[in-house]
Symmetry: C2
Subunit: 333 residues, 2 copies
Amino acid sequence: MTIVDVARHAGVSTTAASKVLRNAYGASPAMRAKVQQAIEELGYRPYAAARGLRGQTYTIGVLLPDIRNPFFPDIIDGITDALRDTDYHVLLGPSCDNEKDEAKITDAMVDRGMDGIVLIAPVMSPRRLERLAKTIPAVVVGRHSRSAHFDTVTDDDVAGAALVVDHLADLGHRRIAHIEHHETDPVHLAEMPNAVRADGYRKAMRARGLAVDIASTSYTQEGGYLGARQLLARPQRPTAIFAGADIVAMGVLTALSEAGLSVPGDISLAGYDNTSFAALGPISLTSVDQAGHHIGAHAARLLQERIGDRSRPAAQVKLSPALVPRRTTAPPP
Amino acid sequence: MTIVDVARHAGVSTTAASKVLRNAYGASPAMRAKVQQAIEELGYRPYAAARGLRGQTYTIGVLLPDIRNPFFPDIIDGITDALRDTDYHVLLGPSCDNEKDEAKITDAMVDRGMDGIVLIAPVMSPRRLERLAKTIPAVVVGRHSRSAHFDTVTDDDVAGAALVVDHLADLGHRRIAHIEHHETDPVHLAEMPNAVRADGYRKAMRARGLAVDIASTSYTQEGGYLGARQLLARPQRPTAIFAGADIVAMGVLTALSEAGLSVPGDISLAGYDNTSFAALGPISLTSVDQAGHHIGAHAARLLQERIGDRSRPAAQVKLSPALVPRRTTAPPP
DNA sequence: GGAGCTATGGGTAACGTTGCCCATTATTGG
DNA sequence: CCAATAATGGGCAACGTTACCCATAGCTCC
């Protein structure tokens, strides 16, 4: 079942059929109707691999760092919703938590001739990122980079961290600790959302004249658990913990419950991302909303524009986070 | 940068270079070395679209019904781990919670010439499923179907439900309610894991001489919340709730906490899937382990075999679930 | 020593689609 | 009424890869 069959069945040339398929110039309404009918009658579907050989596959790839983090589905929904009425299809790469897996997956997407990719918080070097974006239209989400070759959609992580610190400080907390995703790479320290968030925490604490207290682990449930244990073991125990992500806060809750501490009675806890789990009744976690759906929608729009004109100037979209206070934060005991 | 460049650079024919790329028969070790070196020096990567046109894309698609359900990442990890040292790459379709989206995504995967697909709990009709499996090598996960054209990997949902019922009954509970994912389609009632699980619940209750008590909503957090509210409003309040999935149990927890009921003091709660959230300290949910990683690994293995020999007899793998008792279940008050 | 192997290498025609070009006919403008 | 232009349709080559074939050379075995 190929375009040749469709053309023959409609009594036109394959070129004509192709034009109809692509909504290209040079096909009369009568011809369009004939070909459309042939397509329906035959149940024809264009073969993406063959299209890919000629340039377009109508496929957009999304690279996500961790399929378990409940924040990413919001972004993905935003992307797919924005592309719903287009000819594009979205395919996701499986989780990749390191540079090597990430390279493998982005390579695979390029090899498959995808028309564009959305990179969510990629960890690759700026050089590689630049090279990739020259190879394929790309939009980078979350990472605070700037380049002439790709667009970015970020959230103001400095402001978001300040929202949490201010909220806790206003409640009366002085010893506010932070659990961050450990970074040493200088580029990551400047660009990755987790590092920027930690930086925002430091700035906000300093602005209030408070001493910073950081546990450096990872943005996972496990990282939250270990980070909380570190913090609780310190001589001056914090009265509030700001976890860099909701999923981190989940691990913190485990550690606190093990230590027999009540939340927010003994200790306050805030997360980041406002995932659906934060809203859960028995958890009811104070968090920061990043509007993942909007992030995804912006990314999809920018990517479509860039696919349309690869040399257009790069855009940086920055969204503002909002605090969502819930029941895990209260004045200190 | 094509295979022609590689061949020229290595001083051999493109046919020879192709043989080396595919580990095909008819290339001497010396030739292999020459070509490999040329590939490395030129940084050549085969173009999947062109390969697709000739038959193979080295791509495996995974269709998952809900990216938010924390059980599915386990399966996906199992699949990717099993395929790690092969030439295959895995791409995921975005969530599809209805038959239409599902059709769109499976069509897209077929159009992109994927070598095979893993369908996780697909909702399409048996007729469509059969047709799809004739078009493309497929493995169906979770759904209790049987066909000559696709393999299946399922968990013994009847046994799993019985594990929960027996556990609760052994603790002394008599009024054990169940929250199921609502189904009316007779095919789904027989084949979908949620329906089979509900059936297992009914059988196990009957075997114990206990009266069934079911709320019929959906396998989501919201469904759990609504289901629990229904159950609590009934004249005879249950002393234990068996939620058909962990994500359902999350919603139940919200409803119970709103109603001022303590778990397991006032009411016991069990989930299903043993997701990472079930293990969380403050939740500590009794659940049933389906070994998602094994499910995924089996699916990947079967799919590879089927890609290798499309007419080989279909296999049905059935795994046994295991109860993981935690702190949400206790004797009735 | 010749028939029948195996091992090795290459030539060539597809796979399904589209971009570029040209041919024909209708339409416009002076 | 003719030249210029627009609208419409089709021919053909090419995208990068591989499956199928054939050609040659060296070997084995009676």
